[in-house]
């Protein structure tokens, strides 16, 4: 997708998102979904950049998200750092962890990268629940229940006031999305694609796999950590239950629906997945059952996710719309 088209698409999407609170500002239930869509769209985009563009089988995305959330929560609760700063510090910490995880991963391939990154995910649970975690203020198994809201210009942003929080998230989403788009379309992005196609070929062009992959890890985990922190201050409570397989799979489904490496497909994937998951929630155990089936069917029949068939399906409609305009 060309840069112009990509930016136009995202602009269109976020313009629509931006005016949503005008209609639904009074409905907490829908505002919550909208905010979660914004947050997940960025987190899933980061994963898409790692997997789809850099071609690294990272399974550590949820871990980075949780690290960011916990980092900001601990900094603001135990050390009384104002959330505005703790969020950014959380991003930096997550970025550093990303580099640390990235260093050994770059020597590995395929399921090994997946395993090592997922091992980070798995170690987080006993770490945060255990004595070490409690020592740094993770609150052990009960988690942290009193995370302060973000205070900015005398306003408090938290789940108590959804519309202001929506626009704060919206603002950060736009910035991070721009960063991601520029990364994908810059020399970096080209380098990723070259790397994905053939590492040897890219090496012959003088693209250092090591350097670029590390940079991807650092940047995406920074953004992921930032949004994790945002989420922590949004819900105001954290527990290690965030590391359950469910969150992981939901994130994965966003990518499958959106199409891996088909940015910004994953953003639409986030919209559909979050909404679907919410709609199906009253169905209890049939929700994950249906989600699982959707993944199987999509992977099998739609190689690039749901995006291209939708475009194809809607193209006559689009033409009509254009003609009417």
């Amino acid at each position: 997708m060309s840069l112009k088209r990509m930016i136009l698409t995202l602009c269109g999407f976020y313009c629509v998102m931006g005016i949503m609170p005008l209609f639904f500002g009074g409905t907490d239930y829908i505002m919550n979904i909208l905010i979660m869509i914004l947050i997940w769209a960025v987190v899933a985009s980061c994963w898409d950049v790692i997997m789809g563009f850099a071609g690294i089988f990272s399974f550590g995305q949820v871990a980075f998200y949780v690290i960011g959330a916990y980092a900001s929560a601990i900094l603001s609760v135990s050390m009384d750092i104002p959330p505005v700063f703790s969020i950014i510090m959380a991003g930096v910490i997550t970025g550093l962890v990303g580099v640390l995880v990235g260093l050994p991963c770059l020597r590995l391939a395929g399921p090994y990268v997946a395993l090592v990154t997922f091992a980070v995910h798995m170690t987080l649970v006993p770490f945060l629940r255990g004595p070490l975690g409690r020592a740094i203020g993770s609150g052990g198994s009960q988690g942290i229940l009193t995370i302060p809201p973000i205070k900015l210009f005398g306003l408090a942003f938290s789940s108590d006031q959804l519309v202001p929080f929506f626009y704060l998230t919206f603002f950060l989403t736009i910035i991070c999305t721009l960063v991601l788009v520029l990364m994908i379309k810059s020399y970096w992005g080209t380098a990723f694609l070259a790397l994905k196609d053939s590492e040897n070929f890219a090496a012959s062009l003088g693209i250092s796999a090591f350097k670029y992959k590390l940079m991807v890890f650092a940047l995406t985990s920074f953004i992921t950590g930032l949004f994790g922190a945002l989420y922590a201050h949004y819900v105001g409570m954290l527990s290690t239950k965030m590391l359950s397989m469910d969150v992981f799979t939901i994130l994965m489904i966003m990518m499958v629906i959106g199409g891996i490496g088909k940015y910004p497909g994953v953003v639409v994937g986030a919209v559909i997945t979050v909404t679907l998951s919410q709609l199906l929630a009253p169905l209890g155990m049939y929700r994950p059952l249906i989600m699982g089936a959707i993944v199987v069917v999509l992977v099998l029949f739609l190689r690039d996710g749901i995006i291209s068939p939708i475009i194809r399906l809607l193209s006559p409609l689009q033409r009509v719309v254009v003609e009417e305009e």
Binding site: M17, L145, V235, A281
Partner: protein, 407 residues
């Protein structure tokens, strides 16, 4: 592509907004329980009690002439976001008149449902949840804890263990508990109490869920040969495998299972093998004979419908629905949350075991009408030895010496 996103959003929100049903002739009751995942078993126990109460009310003509309509929500494994979604869905979107939960998120739930006013009944049974309540009692005034906290329950366990008609051969106890809020709270309280009376906590081990191979721990226990082994793991697999591996080479110890005796599978799987284990149930129903005819009738009805003995949570979840219905009847308007909450807090309720009342911190502290019941497994069934408070022997049932203890 832009249009695609737009259409997708419009489509989903049309779907979202149209799904809310505006039926006026029912009263909606929210039931957020774990229907999937590790806590689904306990969710099922609570659900059975709630279902029974709702059916009973509906059969009796409903509440204020309206039928009750249950809206369920799967709170999975209580991830913060899911807990919040549940509150927003049930209270925000479906506008339920009350929320009946069991385990619901150990404190996260208080914050999530505290934003709304519909009465919220939960069985978190742990101090962190009560701490959230205490941080702003005004805001969380609609929260009701239907059982005591872990610490209070552990004190009761301690009292029972020391009151057993049994001469302990030594003063050593081994405590094994899970690494969650409940397990830690019980473990900490028990070890503090036993130390106070001069016992030695020979081993205190916090374990994660999912252990099926107990060899290494049992090896240590056999060396210690303690007078009491207390296990506090609110999950059936671990405690069953522990018992099986313990019994192949037992020590002269009283096996105290605390709350872990209550998951349904423990007794259905172990049967008579489990004879001799002691344990407790908060807000429980004494067994095999209920304390009065009314309660006995309820137990019989339960066994009739679900074909198994009453597990932890069922009775109190049933009662919580009844308590709320009683308050609504008294107020006359299910949506007058201020009045309903006031009634819930101030007026008592005449339950199956007697008059009960929510106490300090909106907690249904152990009381004669909702006692902590201490059982021993005898002939493959739970037999109440004591009720608490006050700690007194129940009925004619007697402690039996576990068969593995050699004099």
């Amino acid at each position: 592509m832009r249009k695609t996103g737009l259409l997708a959003i419009i489509f989903t929100f049309v779907m979202l907004t149209t799904t809310s049903v505006f039926a006026a002739d029912t009263i909606k009751v929210g039931v957020p329980l774990a229907a999937t995942g590790a806590y689904a078993g306990s969710g099922d126990n609570y659900w059975k009690g709630i279902e029974m109460a709702i059916n009973e009310i509906n059969k009796g003509g409903g509440l204020l002439g309206k039928q009750l309509e249950v809206i369920r929500f799967d709170s999975q494994e209580f991830a913060p976001e899911v807990v919040m979604q549940g509150a927003n869905y049930l209270c925000g979107k479906m506008k339920v008149a009350s929320v009946h939960a069991g385990w619901a998120g150990w404190g996260q739930d208080i914050r999530a449902y505290g934003k709304y006013d519909a009465p919220f009944f939960c069985d978190d049974g742990a101090m962190p949840a009560v701490d959230v309540y205490k941080s702003d009692p005004e805001k969380y005034y609609n929260t009701y804890f239907i059982t005591d906290t872990g610490g209070d329950q552990a004190n009761s366990m301690f009292n029972m263990l020391t009151a057993l008609p049994y001469e302990y051969p030594n003063k050593k106890i081994v405590i094994i508990n899970t690494d969650d809020a409940w397990g830690m709270e019980v473990g900490d309280t028990l070890s503090k109490q036993f130390k106070k009376i001069g016992w030695k906590v020979a081993k205190r081990e916090t374990v994660p869920y999912g252990i099926n191979e107990w060899g290494p721990i049992l090896t240590k226990i056999r060396r210690i040969n303690p007078a009491i082994i207390h296990i506090e793991i609110p999950s059936s697999q671990e405690v069953i495998t522990f018992f099986r591996q313990f019994i192949k080479q037992p020590t002269n110890s009283i096996l105290s299972y605390g709350w872990s005796i209550t998951p349904l599978e423990v007794l259905t799987t172990l049967g008579k093998d489990a004879d001799g284990i002691v344990g407790e149930m908060p807000a429980g129903m004494p067994a095999p004979k209920a304390p009065n005819a009314k309660a006995q009738a309820w137990v019989d009805q339960y066994m009739n419908i679900y074909k198994h003995p009453v597990p932890a949570g069922s009775w109190i979840a049933y009662t919580s629905v009844m308590v709320w219905a009683d308050a609504v009847k008294a107020v006359g308007d299910e949506y007058d949350f201020k009045a309903v909450n006031k009634h819930l807090k101030e007026a008592g309720y005449d339950g199956l075991q007697g008059k009960m009342k929510f106490g300090e911190n909106n907690t249904l502290h152990a009381q004669p009408a909702a006692p902590i019941v201490h059982y021993q497994v005898q002939d493959g069934k739970l037999v109440a030895l004591f009720t608490d408070p006050p700690l007194k022997p129940y009925g004619e049932y007697k402690f039996q010496m576990p068969r593995w203890i050699k004099k």
